[in-house]
């Protein structure tokens, strides 16, 4: 899939760590407006694939394209500037910086940004995420769920066209999880594209319009959730895990 509307494409991506092939010739494309659930058993290569597509790891083979432009090997900060946002499997905030400062870092990397403009945008997103009252708290003092929300907010400050969320619901209280799902839906409706990696099938199925399933570094299914759930290969992969 290379036509118009394709935002991110990974072509024949390969990544090895020593003798382990974490990602083995994966073909993946993310179209504008997609809300994709990327699932798979533990060790299936989901996070490695996200790292390859967001510039955090260089592939050993294959290519990455962003809006048709080859970006293989470009650093994460370059992809961030081109509109690729992400969150991490284990929340990675700037712990000894305040909530507002966490938001300002990506805000001020934008060309032409000003402190006042970035501050206003940050406060708007903090309101949207119900974190406005915490703006002067150190990020490390927030609860696990609030940290996940802040990480989403920080990624939003890049005004990304596509957002990769790596296990956004892990360890999050059910009430905050519902809030997070609601915010992702709102953002998707406003035109953002999402790829959500998670083990929480309930949350993924509530969100995703398309599921991609990885097993042992390979794509074993890609399609609408109902079809993927009934796929024998998927059932076998999960039963095996």
């Amino acid at each position: 899939m290379t036509g118009p509307g394709v935002l991110v494409r990974g072509a024949g991506l390969v990544k090895r760590f020593g003798g382990i092939v974490a990602v083995d010739g994966v073909e993946v494309s993310v179209a504008e407006g997609d809300l994709i659930g990327l699932i798979g058993p533990n060790g299936s290569g989901k996070t490695t694939l996200v790292n390859l597509l967001t510039g955090h790891l260089p592939p050993d083979g294959g290519e990455v394209f962003l809006r048709g432009r080859r970006v293989t090997g470009a650093g994460a900060h370059i992809l961030a500037a081109l509109g690729v946002g992400r969150t991490f499997q284990l929340t990675q905030l700037f712990g000894r910086m305040t909530v507002l400062e966490n938001m300002l870092v990506p805000g001020l990397t934008q060309p032409g940004s000003t402190w006042e403009g970035a501050r206003q945008r940050a406060r708007r997103y903090l309101e949207f995420l119900n974190l406005a009252h915490l703006e002067n708290q150190y990020a490390r003092n927030l609860s696990g769920g609030q940290q996940k929300l802040l990480e989403l907010g920080r990624a939003l400050m890049l005004e990304p066209t596509v957002l990769f969320l790596d296990e956004p619901f892990a360890g999050v209280h059910p009430r905050l999880r519902d809030e997070l799902i609601g915010r992702i839906r709102d953002l998707h409706r406003s035109g953002r594209t999402f790829v959500v990696v998670d083990h929480d099938m309930d949350s993924i199925l509530r969100l995703a319009r398309r599921l991609i399933v990885l097993a042992r570094g390979r794509t074993i299914a890609d399609g609408p959730p109902d079809a993927v759930r009934a796929d024998p290969a998927v059932l076998a992969a999960y039963a095996g895990s």
């Binding site: 650093g75 991490f88 700037f94 400062e101 990397t109």
Partner: protein, 324 residues
Amino acid sequence: MRGLHAYVLAAAGVCALVYGHLLNPYWMHVAIIAMFYGILAASWSLLAGYAGLFSLGHMAFASLGGYTSALLVQWYRLPIPAGMAAGVVLCTLVGAGIGWICLRMSGPYLAIFTLGFAEIVRITFSTEDEVTGGMAGLHTAPLFRAATDLPYYYTAFGLLVFSLATLAVIARSRWGLFLRALREDEQAAAASGVAVARFRTLAFAVASGFAGLAGGFYAHYVGILTPSVGSLDLMALLVVMAVIGGMERIPTAVGGAFGVEFLQEALRAYGQWRLVLFGLILLGTMRFARNGLLTPAWLQFVRLGEIRGPAPARRGVGQEGSGP
């Protein structure tokens, strides 16, 4: 009154200028050396405290700046300020090079790498005695020919103010915010659009340039330069100064430099035991006050104006007060 701390510091600076001449020669020398360490502690704070790059090569850059200036003045009869400027430029370039080489290093690996660099510099200056005078030292041209050290006092003061102002502008700018983000999490900083390699290199270059400036001044103040300027002993002393004061804020790091330097002299009667005392203070700081002994007092001092002002400012971000 908003920004009360800035007015108080400015008033203290004016007093230091106006009443500096009242110091006897001994304490004037101590004050000059304290200001030399103040520049080094402030610039090391930017590198280690803000950016989290724990370098043990900072005194080696001071040494490099000092020798560069002294030798250029000796060989080419350059005016001393030009020699000092050349030292700053060389240290900035070498610092950028070291920063670039160390891009993938942090924590103990970076500390050991920069320690190795410092030892190479020190041993080179010791061994090349035909050029540097070796351990016997290199006689340097004095910056001033005056009956007292007062001109040196004013010069050190000017260099310190210039260094602090420049470093404070960097620390309070978006660059300072990005450096702190690097310290916290480089991967997250990259995901936020921060060019990690560029800012790590920049931190090394700027900090090394200021170390070179301090070294250049020192070379033309003391009159004789030995390789021990770049020794691990003096690097350890600099770390003690910045850590005891509070390495994550430039004013507290400078306060630590002043405090330790003055205590070193005030406790001279106790000989080597005073160094044991500093060791104990360092241990206590790391155990009970990891942000430094002066940091709580500094934060209270900064908030003083905000609390009593007519419109209390929120504890804020960047330009609003989380910088120095």
